[in-house]
Symmetry: C3
Subunit: 414 residues, 3 copies
């Protein structure tokens, strides 16, 4: 089954070749450029003569394990909601995250810890580094699993996708697996947002704002989901996704003096917008705009992301020396130096939003075109959301329903 001999042979070589090539290239770059940093190299360890307590390795926030739990468990399981795409979701997230972590060592290292001709790496900075790998692996993941971004979706439209419609929903237990993803994402989103911030109050503020925003988006998601649901029923898709919109919406402004109240309002709005998006906008996207957005990237990352950028514009425009004190220097250095007014900072932030949207459109379109290349051998419309194309899927000869064991029954009656 599953394809002509040529297609099968292509598939057998495609993933292995890609993995081997990428791993080979990365390994060579590692050999040439990557070295242990001062905390990791035996010859350079600089606390050697200090007391025993100084040699202890304490967890800095966010730890790399926080970020890995968020990426591997969180995103890995979030997409398991599709009834026949669980292996692909959790498996390909695993593969791509592992590669992205290697790659982010190189990319981040060149920008932040390159000196003397080498990238210097250590485990303590890995939390931040892993976080920065997120845009990279996220894009890879979305593109590669055909759960595509909005713009590329237009390019990739599959007119006969209704042939796979019966697999596009969830089943009872697949929704519970997805909740594992949601909950770990919720718990570790404050770690994720605060990874690229400056140390000190900025990091504390980012974590706290993200956290309050998430609590509010959870409440508004439940409220809106019941309000618009059939017979007032809640929808698992909303809870699994829109509850996290509070983490997205403060992505830009969480480091600013948003105030706890501001974080609640932002989160509440994001949860509302995202839930309404899943209910009303996704069907329109598909029927009118020919965009198939299976896992609702537009509703969880798109709209709350744009909303968050606008919130950043607003909060930046309201920044004063009084509110930030000496801290203005670390959040808005140009404001602190008097080289820019708050209004001008706000305008710069707004311009940044447009640049991001243009990059996303162009990048998404190119990505979409790339995925249409014939040698990439994308599955036919009738086989989307189906693990069996890529995975050995176990047959279902389980004897769960058979009650007592039959094998020993004669012995029992003897």
């Amino acid at each position: 089954m599953a394809g002509s001999p040529r297609r099968t042979a292509g598939r057998r070589l495609q993933l292995p070749l890609l993995c081997l090539l990428l791993q080979g290239a990365t390994a060579i770059l590692f050999a040439v450029f990557v070295r242990y940093n001062h905390e990791t190299d035996a010859a350079l360890w600089h606390w050697r003569n200090h007391s025993n307590a100084d040699n202890e390795f304490y967890f800095r926030y966010p730890s790399f394990q926080d970020v890995h739990t968020m990426i591997f468990v969180g995103f890995g399981f979030l997409m398991v909601f599709l009834q026949r795409y669980g292996f692909s979701s959790v498996g390909f997230t695993f593969l791509l995250a592992a590669f992205a972590l290697q790659w982010s060592t190189l990319v981040q290292g060149f920008f932040h810890s390159f000196h003397g001709g080498h990238i210097h790496v250590g485990i303590e900075r890995l939390g931040r580094l892993s976080c920065c790998s997120w845009p990279c692996w996220r894009w890879c993941y979305l593109a590669s699993t055909s759960l595509c971004s909005l713009v590329s979706s237009g390019v990739l439209y599959r007119p006969q996708l209704e042939k796979s419609k019966h697999r596009q929903g969830s089943v009872y237990h697949s929704d519970l697996f997805a909740m594992i993803g949601t909950i770990f994402l919720w718990i570790f989103w404050p770690s994720f947002n605060s990874a690229p911030t400056t140390l000190g109050d900025g990091q504390h503020r980012t974590a706290l704002n993200t956290y309050y925003s998430l609590t509010a988006s959870t409440l508004s998601t439940f409220a809106l989901s019941a309000l618009v649901g059939r017979d007032g029923r809640l929808d698992m898709v909303h809870v699994q996704n829109a509850a996290l919109a509070g983490g997205v919406v403060v992505g830009t402004s969480a480091e600013m003096m948003l105030t706890p109240f501001g974080a609640l309002v932002a989160g509440f709005l994001a949860g509302t917008v995202s839930t309404l998006g899943y209910k009303f906008f996704t069907p329109i996207l598909e029927s009118k705009l020919k965009v198939q957005d299976t896992c609702g990237v537009h509703n969880l990352h798109g709209m709350p992301g744009v909303l968050g950028a606008l919130l950043g514009v607003l909060v930046a425009g309201l920044a004063t020396h009084e509110a930030y004190g000496d801290g203005l220097e670390s959040v808005f250095p140009l404001l602190a130096k008097g080289q820019r007014s708050a209004t001008s900072q706000a305008m710069h932030q707004l311009f940044g939003l447009f640049v991001t949207l243009i990059f996303a459109s162009v990048g998404g379109s190119l990505g979409g075109l790339l995925l249409r290349l014939p040698f990439l051998d994308s599955p036919p419309d009738s086989q989307c959301y189906e693990d069996q194309i890529y995975w050995e899927v176990p047959g279902e000869h389980e004897d769960l329903a058979q009650g007592p064991l039959r094998a020993e029954e004669p012995e029992t009656r003897a």
Copy 2:
């Protein structure tokens, strides 16, 4: 299906209105009272001029992520054992925990960090704060999901609940989901118990005692479960619940000089009592006392809790200046000042147990009566333990059992 138009309309508005009202009230209180603390406010950050290392944000034990993992993952999944109540268990825990975390900021803040007319909040104290939200959200959760407390159950007795009996059990995979809850609760219970203790040795001791007590209750649960099981078989309900009784039983005394041996004994007894409770007492509770205790709150929290209070009386009564040294001041301040004898301290603890039981009885009865209010529209006896009342539940047209893909079959044969 599922109800008359009036009932449906009521349900559509009930949860949204409740969420919106509560979130609105909390947001106003946040706007008026809640401010960033010194570690979080840009203008107040007091380590600005210090070295870079001082600006690092290290994880203090217990971290807020420990406690969130325990609450959201632990309690969320523990109740997924019911075959058709998984969405409600994990979903409503999610909603109520999110709200309780906001509310605990206000309640705890008024008691512990209110000065200058404001509550001062920061992320580092959130571990303790989240823990303190536990009694609040736990009550909400139990009440709202009708997995009710003992006293209120008497008030809420449903004579025809056997109509829902077929959904009261578990299925194979729902029991495995519940084990995710159990294991994360087990891992993070030491964090939870040590959150409200004083810093220093008290916190270390609490974590260590809790940990040894949990190992012992796990062993006694397996021993007793096999001993009383049909054909010597283990029961998942016991393992999922009674194994945690060791965390409950040292709740009062873990900060005291219980000794590691004492913790083992306490945990072993708690696991034994709890397992026997599930096996023998729950059926009597239901048939004789008309109390329906679906998830065994009485066995996991009730009896081990009372046992733990008595253990606290005992250990307090044995407290000496010799055993505690200077540490007596932080554990039993009145003893250290000579204002109270050890026996008198023990009597005060015993009195505390009775006060708690009276509060629980009155509170539970009031809660039960509240839940009988007609506008709360509780489900009929035949529809208990059923997600479909509150949730869109996916249909089960999964083609798991179909083996190879049919769509491409012709192509394969070509």
Copy 3:
């Protein structure tokens, strides 16, 4: 069903007696030997007069929670892949880990914190201690669940095991549960490897090398799995297991100056060897050598472990004063003192491998013979991989597939 009256009675008493005896003996040893250490004892707490910040309890790497998550969640769920052995996998791991943690307090305590006639315990050292319990509980686990080690398997060969063959595979959701295990093992393997290392650079290096090795073994596992898979399909068994071989292979050498590039190469080779082992070697083991290695211990722990020992020989043989600087003293103390050459150190490491293999062979054979003792009442060949022998397994009268609720239907139509 399930056995004659005598067998049933034996089973009813076997596990309870074992648990009670072991717990009783351990409790007595705790009473005699185990005391709180200086950080935990109220009378001995030595930071009492210091500032408040000194009393804070910060997380040291690895925390005991890291290690518990790895053991309980990781190994507990990894073996849930067997369709009818999930309760046993997660349940017996739970039981054995709980006991091993008590036992490791005693064993490790005698070696590392025994003075004045007592073992001194504290929560901060528990991460290391829990790790050291691993070999102990791992052996217990493997032996007790008949997922046996290679050598003992030969002794335990079950010629009629094909009668249980239909339960030896996975089902769709059991594979997803197993991925929870895999991912948490992956995230916390760096913690696990770095637990027994010396503090300072050695610990940082161990964590970082383990981490890079794991990323590489993940990539090579996917590459090889697709390359050798039927129609180029990936196999969940490979992803669940071989992706972790990178953690095993650097077990010996991660503390050495392996370099990040070296870690990538080691991980890639380990993933390759392990995947090929699952595909080609396991069937030969069973058919030719009469060894039944259900969960592929040989492929994940055996071959990558031996490969890792040889890698340790190589890296030790290449050690120079130049590469390690002053750090040579903590990694290779005898080299630093000039009492041993690098080549001689390498030979000692090689000799260690042979000693380990001999111990494993003898220990495994004895373990296998022990398990054949008639009173241990091991299940017949036809009932292997079956929870129902040890557990009450819920019947499958779930009404998942019934769509809308029937009970209220008349009311709806009214």
